[in-house]
């Protein structure tokens, strides 16, 4: 009888352990597959909402009210023809994990689109919609278009390099040189693409 109880307890323990193992596998499925599905959906919804706001002129640059269905801080649409003619991703303020799930992230404290200074954005290359998965396909001169309620800013890719995660520097020390840098999470090495302003305005 006592042996039966022990066997029963071991059986339950085995089932618990197998359940935990299955949950870990399920977590991996969620991370590498479902975050793409849900973020892609969220990005597309945010882009179409922003497009409507920009078109109607009701967009409030820099901030969005929580009632209009936009994630907090969504303020621009980034288009990169090299990534596809219909490529459009939202740009949100901040680069926390939660913010990067909502789109590309604008580094706090860096210049805004079209402003003089370094306009820096980050984005995932894997998972969460992987908006920058094709970053390595960018070539010199490729256009990066940033649309806000105020108008368009067009950047042209000038260089690309891979840096250490801890590395922050600029090849253009002059703050008068508008510049864009794109370090991204999701990998031990951080590709950085630089681009300079080509044109801007409403």
């Amino acid at each position: 009888m006592r042996g039966g109880v022990r066997a029963g307890a071991l059986g339950v323990l085995g089932e618990v352990l197998m359940t935990l193992g299955a949950l870990v596998v399920l977590f991996v499925v969620w991370q590498v597959w479902w975050t793409d599905v849900s973020s892609d959906r969220a990005h597309a919804a945010t882009v179409s909402t922003l497009e409507r706001e920009f078109a109607s002129g009701t967009g409030d640059p820099g901030s969005t009210s929580p009632t209009d269905g936009l994630p907090a801080g969504a303020f621009a649409i980034v288009r990169v023809p090299r990534f596809g003619a219909d490529y459009a991703r939202p740009l949100v303020e901040g680069t926390s994990a939660a913010e990067l799930a909502e789109g590309l992230g604008h580094y706090d404290g860096t210049a805004g689109p079209g402003e003089v200074g370094n306009f820096a954005i980050a984005g995932h290359r894997t998972t969460y919609g992987k908006p920058l998965a094709q970053i390595d396909s960018l070539r010199e001169g490729d256009r990066i278009v940033v649309e806000t309620a105020a108008g368009w800013t067009v950047y042209a890719v000038s260089s690309h390099e891979i840096v250490r995660p801890s590395q922050w520097r600029s090849s253009h020390p002059s703050p008068e040189t508008p510049e864009q840098r794109r370090p991204r999470p999701c990998s031990p090495s951080r590709p950085v693409t630089r681009a300079s302003v080509r044109s801007g305005g409403g």
């Binding site: 994990a97 992230g105 404290g109 860096t110 991204r184």
Partner: protein, 68 residues
């Protein structure tokens, strides 16, 4: 554990199996919607964005040179 659950489910085998599948789907859905997004905050894999140390206050003159 699962054997007890199986016995607790009513009806013929087909109905029990259907109920098991529905329960499994509910568990997966709950994990995807709530559990994993909560758990991931405590895992380091998502928190690897390069951060800007000691950024000057003015966004128009971010001296990003050689901060590394």
């Amino acid at each position: 554990m699962y054997a007890a659950l199986w016995r607790a489910l009513p009806g013929p085998v087909a109905l029990k199996a259907a109920a098991m599948i529905v329960l499994l789907a509910l568990v997966v859905w709950a994990c995807f919607e709530w559990v994993f997004p909560l758990v991931v905050q405590w895992l380091p894999y998502d928190d690897n964005t390069v951060t800007l140390p000691n950024l000057p206050s003015s966004p128009h003159h971010p001296d990003l040179q050689d901060l590394a």
